[in-house]
Amino acid sequence: MTAQVSLVADVLLVDRCNRGEEAATRELFRTYHKRVHGTLYRILGSNRDIDDLTQDSFIQVFKSLPTFRAEAKLATWIDRITVRVAYRHIAKQKKLPLPNDTLDEEQSMRPSPGHQAASREAVRRLYSALSELPVASRVAFALHEIDGRSVSEVASLVGASKSACKLRIWRARRTLFKLASTDPILAELLEANDQEHDGSQL
C-alpha cells in the first residue's frame, strides 16, 4: 500500500469514526491496539494499569479524532497521544510501583529457569532504575532505547527538539550506568545489550 493510499484509508476511517460508526471504532481499535499497548509497555514496563491506560489512550484518540488533519500518519498521531497518556500516568504517580509481574508468555520461553529468573529480575531493576529518572528522560530513553525509535521520531512524539531528546537520553543512560555500578544484575543487562549492539554494528 502506498503512503498516499494509506493516508486516504486513514482519512476515510477517521471520518467513519467521526460519524459515530461503531464498526469503524472497533476497526480503528483492532488496527492500532498492538501499537498502543506496545508503546505503553515499553515506557512503563509491566504494569497492572496497562489495560486501563490502553483504554484511556484510545478514548483520548476518539475524543481528538475530529481534530485529526491528516498532516501525519494516523499511527504517528495515535503514538503521540499514547506517549502523552504514559507521561501523565508517570507524572501522576511520581514513582511507579516496581514491576512485579514481568513474567510474560514470551519470557517463559527462555532456555532455563535460572536464566529466566535472572532476566526477569534484570528487567524489574531496569524499570526500578528508570522510575528514579525525571519523567521526560524516562520517556525519551524508553522510546529510543527500548522501543527502538529514532531520535527524530522521539522528538516528534514528545514535542521536543532533537538535541533536547539526545540530552535526555544521554542523562538517562548516565544515571542507569551509575546505578549499574552497584548492581551487577542491571549491569549485566546493560552490558549484554551494549555488546550485542556493538556486535551487530561490526
Partner: protein, 401 residues
C-alpha cells in the same frame, strides 16, 4: 544500546482485548457525535479564519478597488494545498487541470458562479484550462499579479518575482499598475507589489448581497473604468506586449432586471475538485472526463458502487455533474441525486447534489411541481445554503413570474 529485544511485549489475550474494546465502545458512544467530517470542519475553520483576517486586512488596506473580479461576495470553501520537497500534486478543478510543483503553497477558492481563484503564496503551478469563452472565469493570483485565463495552458511561478509563461492560448495578466495579454510562447516577469491577500476574497460592503443577487451581478456586468499605467518595476519579456487594454469587467454593482430562468441557467453548482483524500481512482477517472465524459460516467458509476466513504460519495457526485453538464441527461441526474441522498444523507457534496437535482428538475421555461419540490427540499435542508435565494424564488415564482 537496544533493550527492546530483552523486553518483549506480551500479547494481549482475546478476553482482555474484548474487555478493553467494550469499554472503549461504551465510552465513545457517550461522546457527542461529530456531524461534520474533519475536512468540512477544517473548511469551516479556514473560512472563519479567512473572514477574520479579511476584515482586519480590509480595514487596514481600505479594500481593493470595488468591482474587482476577485472581490465577489460569494466565496466558497477555500482549500489549502501545500506540497513538500519532491511532491508534485495534480488536481482537477472542473475543466481545468492543475499541476502543483514541489514546495508550493496554494489556496483554491471557488465561487457560486463557478469562477475559480488560485492564490499562489509561493512555488509554481502549471494550469491547463479549457478556453473560457462562456465558461466561468479562472484566475491565478500571485501577490498583486492576477493571471486570468482566456483559454490556455500556462505556468505561474512565484519566488522573488512572479513569472508567467504561456504555452497555448491567451492569458490576461493584471497588476495594480498594468494589464496586458500574453499569447502562446510569450512570458512576463514582475515583482509582486503586495502579499496575496485574503481580504480580496471577502465581500465588500456594497457587495453584501444574497446568492441570487450575486448570480444576477455575475450575469449583468458593465464595463468599469480602471487605471492603466505601466508598472516601473515590471519587466515585460514577451515577444510583443500587444493588447495593452483593460480586461472586460464582468461584475457590476448594478444588477438591473433579470429573469429568474436566466439566473437559474447560470447558477451552476460547485464543480468537482479532486483532492488527495478522494483517492487515486477518483483522480484517475476524472482525468478521463475531459476527453471522454461518457467513459468517465461509466467508470465513476463503477467506482461509486465499489468504493466506500468519501471516494464513493465523490464518485457519485462527479458522475451526476458530468451527466448534467457534459451529457445533458437530466432525468439520470435526478436519479443519481436520489441515490446519493439515500446512501450519503450527510455527504460532503449533499448541498451541491441537491442543487443539481433542482437544476435538473426545473425547466428553464417553467417550474413544475417536481422542480418546486426539489427547491423546497433544498431550502428545508440548507436554509443558509448558497442557493437559498434562488430556491426561495423558484418556490415563489408561480406568483411573480
Amino acid at each position: 544500546m537496544n533493550l527492546g529485544s530483552k523486553i518483549p511485549v506480551p500479547e494481549v489475550d482475546e478476553l482482555r482485548l474484548a474487555r478493553i474494546e467494550r469499554g472503549i465502545v461504551n465510552e465513545v458512544s457517550k461522546l457527542p457525535q461529530t456531524k461534520t467530517s474533519s475536512y468540512s470542519r477544517w473548511s469551516k475553520v479556514a473560512v472563519a479564519m479567512v473572514a477574520v483576517a479579511g476584515v482586519v486586512l480590509a480595514i487596514a488596506l481600505n479594500l481593493r478597488a470595488a468591482g474587482s473580479p476577485s472581490a465577489s461576495p460569494e466565496a466558497l470553501r477555500p482549500t489549502k494545498l501545500v506540497t513538500g520537497p519532491g511532491q508534485i500534486d495534480r488536481l482537477i478543478l472542473g475543466d481545468a487541470k492543475i499541476e502543483v510543483a514541489e514546495n508550493t503553497d496554494i489556496s483554491i477558492q471557488r465561487f457560486v458562479d463557478g469562477r475559480t481563484l488560485i492564490l499562489l503564496a509561493g512555488g509554481s503551478v502549471h494550469c491547463d484550462v479549457e478556453p473560457r469563452k462562456n465558461r466561468p472565469e479562472f484566475q491565478v493570483r500571485a501577490g498583486d499579479v492576477d493571471v486570468t485565463v482566456v483559454g490556455t495552458s500556462f505556468d505561474v511561478k512565484r519566488k522573488r518575482t512572479v513569472q508567467v509563461a504561456v504555452q497555448h492560448g491567451i492569458v490576461s495578466v493584471a497588476t495594480s499598475h498594468e494589464t496586458l495579454r500574453l499569447h502562446a510562447g510569450e512570458s512576463w516577469q514582475g515583482s509582486p507589489d503586495a502579499e496575496t491577500s485574503v481580504a480580496s476574497l471577502l465581500p465588500e460592503k456594497d457587495d453584501e448581497a444574497g446568492p441570487l443577487d450575486a448570480a444576477v451581478l455575475a450575469n449583468n456586468g458593465s464595463p468599469k473604468d480602471e487605471e492603466d499605467t505601466r508598472s516601473p518595476g515590471a519587466k515585460n519579456t514577451s515577444k510583443s506586449s500587444r493588447n495593452n487594454r483593460k480586461p472586460k469587467q464582468r461584475f457590476a454593482q448594478d444588477g438591473g432586471t433579470v429573469r429568474l430562468r436566466d439566473v437559474l441557467k447560470n447558477a451552476k453548482p460547485i464543480r468537482p475538485v479532486v483532492l488527495p483524500s478522494h483517492g487515486p481512482k477518483a483522480r484517475e477517472f476524472l482525468d478521463v472526463a475531459a476527453s471522454n465524459p461518457k467513459k468517465a460516467v461509466v467508470e465513476l458509476e463503477r467506482l461509486g458502487a465499489t468504493a466506500t466513504g468519501h471516494e464513493a460519495s465523490f464518485a457519485l457526485y462527479s458522475r451526476a455533474y458530468l451527466l448534467y453538464f457534459k451529457l445533458g441527461k437530466r432525468s439520470e441526474v435526478v436519479k443519481a441525486a436520489k441515490q446519493y441522498a439515500r446512501r450519503f444523507p450527510r455527504g460532503r457534496e449533499s448541498e451541491d447534489m441537491l442543487w443539481l437535482r433542482v437544476l435538473s428538475s426545473c425547466d428553464s421555461e417553467n417550474y413544475s411541481s417536481s422542480c418546486r419540490t426539489a427547491a423546497h427540499s433544498y431550502q428545508q435542508r440548507f436554509p443558509q445554503g448558497v442557493f437559498k435565494g434562488l430556491a426561495s424564488r423558484i418556490i415563489r415564482s408561480k406568483q411573480s413570474e
